[in-house]
């Protein structure tokens, strides 16, 4: 599946926000590698930091940043060292583009779809407008829509169509990595399946790598060959999808998988009781320990690191450490 060439590796990424109530530790100790044609699903509940991760990688951040540090190597080069202007010119959209959650609602209602899809090309590559529009039209057709849709205004398109246009917009600069932040969360089931089909097709066609942010483990399995589970701002399990779905290790991952109702098996879905903690004042030790069925003294006292439990399989849990 993956060609073995690492396109993106993130090391110790950390992001804190400043709010009136205190400092929100939105992301800590984020480490992962993304290889060519990899799809990494970043899975977690709302407020766990998964969308923040998406934004941190393309540096689209709010103003109240407290800490933003770590290393992000893009094809071996640490892009965290680039200043804002260089980052904008060389990385954002050029190498990593993003389809935001609800991107379909972010089109400017007074411009035609084609113009908006072409926009990144005009800005980043100084391509002539006519040329860019032509490319936009081609991409729109590639997304399975009639080319004339380029001449339409956003309100004339359905949600699914606009989402396709948003994907076209993310692809127009030929990026290597596309971040998909809940790309189908507001869409109907059938439309969602169609979009997922489309994402699969263009990934193969363009040899893209995806970072697929979602709360839906079922949906994640449609695209991902790697899964990162985030809980309270930290990755708690990082694994290949094949291993993850058959043998999840972290109690939280297991709970998540068990909570997905299935159509194909007779397994009755279960739930994890309790709610995710505050990121301003997270629990001591393992952040999951207040909700964990297997927690013991050590879990609340000491924070586990990522423990290797198999080939490409890391878990942040004392159950798998030497302590047990």
């Amino acid at each position: 599946m993956s060609s073995g060439k690492t396109v993106l590796s993130v090391r110790d990424l950390k992001l804190y926000y400043r709010t009136r109530k205190g400092v929100v530790k939105a992301l800590e100790e984020i480490n992962f590698d993304l290889e060519k044609e990899d799809v990494l699903a970043v899975v977690g509940e709302s407020g766990c930091g998964k969308s923040t991760l998406a934004r941190a990688l393309v540096r689209v951040l709010p103003r109240n940043i407290h800490t933003y540090e770590g290393k992000v190597f893009l094809n071996g080069r640490n892009v965290m060292e680039l200043d804002e202007e260089a980052f904008r010119r060389e990385v954002r959209w050029k190498k990593i583009s993003i389809v935001f959650q609800g991107a379909m609602n972010s089109f400017n209602p007074v411009y035609k779809i084609g113009q908006q899809v072409a926009e990144p090309l005009v800005i980043h590559d100084n391509v002539e407008k006519k040329e860019a529009l032509k490319k936009a039209r081609q991409l729109i057709e590639l997304m399975g829509m009639p080319g004339v849709f380029a001449e339409r205004y956003p309100f004339e398109l359905s949600g699914g169509m606009k989402q396709r246009a948003a994907i076209a917009m993310a692809l127009i600069t030929n990026p290597e990595i596309v971040i998909l932040d809940e790309p189908t969360s507001a869409l109907d089931v059938l439309t969602q399946a169609n979009i997922i089909n489309l994402l699969k097709r263009i990934k193969n066609e363009f040899r893209l790598s995806y970072i697929f942010i979602t709360h839906d483990l079922g949906l994640a399995s449609e695209l991902a060959n790697k899964v990162a589970v985030i809980y309270a701002g930290k990755i708690v399990e990082l694994s290949s999808a094949d291993v993850f779905y058959t043998e999840p290790k972290h109690p939280y991952s297991r709970g998540l998988i068990a909570s997905v109702p299935t159509l194909t098996t007779d397994r009755k879905p279960e739930f994890i009781s309790g709610a995710p903690p505050s990121l301003i004042d997270p629990p001591s030790g393992c952040r999951f320990h207040p909700r964990c069925r297997f927690a013991w003294d050590k879990c609340s006292a000491e924070e586990p690191g990522m423990i290797k439990v198999g080939e490409d399989h890391l878990v942040r849990c004392w159950l798998y450490g030497d302590g047990k």
């Binding site: 799809v39 509940e45 709302s46 399975g144 359905s158 699914g160 109907d188 089931v189 059938l190 439309t191 969602q192 399946a193 169609n194 997922i196 089909n197 699969k200 097709r201 709360h215 839906d216 483990l217 079922g218 949906l219 994640a220 399995s221 449609e222 695209l223 991902a224 060959n225 999808a241 094949d242 993850f244 779905y245 058959t246 709970g255 998540l256 998988i257 909570s259 997905v260 109702p261 299935t262 159509l263 194909t264 009755k268 879905p269 279960e270 739930f271 994890i272 009781s273 709610a275 995710p276």
Partner: protein
């Protein structure tokens, strides 16, 4: 089916919304959001109403609660016709039928404590006179939804609770008047995956214990399985298929139901190497729709008749109804 146990019966229920084109135009168009729905629900049973956005499932729910007045058909509640009863004469029905909404964060007035929010229905219906008794009822309802210790929750404001906790309060509010029917409109779709099942389980247990009729409105076919006896599949204002939940999931007949089943994501690492065979396109607009099968433009198995005539509901198997011409002979 014994009519004594029938809680709710809908006969050919219609809810059309008027739209006027332009200020002076006298031409009236109708959005046929719910267009001929027939089903009945027994006491103490749960039915799932499954459909995508725009299928009319929410409108149907609100019409059942008589938050809308139907344009046609009949609603019988415990045998009483409430189709066109005036709003002011519906107070008894408000006590018998309650609502759990989709958005737990919007379902409560932010200036009411949990206690006050739960007390409101009691105050309005004046069923419990003394303050002590009301408090007792409120605490009991909170216990029913497992928000214990109740004192920890009763005096909190909605913004201090999580979505899951708020949805429990919403359920507590829905049962506090001891109703016979609850319409739960996408009660878990805005919650995190890990708490969805918890809320559905809670609702299911309450329903079984209090022998409530529950109409569970959802877009997620996967969650219907353990939480309802029967299921209705809605598409563009029509009921496409109705049967026991088990039957719908095991042996779907309507091409639309089949497509839904295929499209519903299931966690399985094999998925990524497969493309899903789902029909393209989008649901039709419901402004004066043509008289045909509303799924026909997207249906992979549609033939001439489908484009011309609206199919009736065929009983393809005992208790398994399908609104599809493919099942005409059976």
């Amino acid at each position: 089916m014994n009519s004594d146990t029938r809680l709710l019966e809908l006969e050919d229920l219609r809810k059309w919304f008027e739209i006027r084109r332009g200020f002076l135009s006298s031409r009236v168009n109708y959005v046929k959001a719910v267009d001929g729905v027939t089903f009945s629900l027994e006491e103490g049973k749960a039915v799932s109403l499954v459909g995508e956005s725009g299928s009319g499932k929410t409108t149907l729910g609100k019409t059942i609660l008589r938050l809308y007045e139907p344009n046609g058909g009949r609603i019988l509640f415990q045998g009483k016709d409430i189709t066109h009863t005036k709003v002011k004469d519906l107070k008894w029905y408000r006590r018998m039928a309650s609502l759990v909404q989709q958005d737990p964060f919007g379902a409560f007035a932010s200036h009411f404590t949990v206690f006050r929010a739960l007390e409101e229905p009691l105050l309005i219906h004046n069923t419990v006179k003394s303050r002590e008794e009301r408090a007792e009822r409120v605490f009991k309802a909170l216990e029913e939804v497992r928000l214990t210790p109740v004192e920890d929750f009763a005096y909190k404001y909605p913004h201090m609770l999580s979505g899951g906790q708020l949805q429990r309060v919403a359920i507590a509010r829905a049962i506090i008047l001891e109703p016979r029917l609850i319409v739960a409109d996408e009660p878990v779709s805005m919650l995190d995956a890990s708490v969805r099942i918890e809320i559905l389980t809670l609702l299911r247990r309450l329903q079984e214990r209090l022998r409530l009729g529950v109409i569970y409105i959802t877009h997620d076919l996967a969650t219907t399985r353990f939480f309802s006896e029967s299921a209705l599949i809605m598409y563009a204002g029509h009921v496409m298929e109705k049967a026991s939940t088990r039957e719908v999931l095991r042996n779907p007949l309507h091409p639309y139901t089949k497509a839904l089943l295929i499209a519903t994501p299931d966690p399985n690492p094999q998925n990524r190497s497969r493309f899903k065979e789902v029909p393209p396109g989008e649901p039709p607009a419901l402004v004066d729709p043509p008289k045909n099968c509303r799924f026909s433009p997207r249906c992979p198995r549609a033939f001439d008749k489908c484009f011309k005539e609206e199919p009736p509901e065929f009983e393809a198997a005992p208790g398994h109804w399908v609104k599809c011409w493919l099942y005409e002979r059976s």
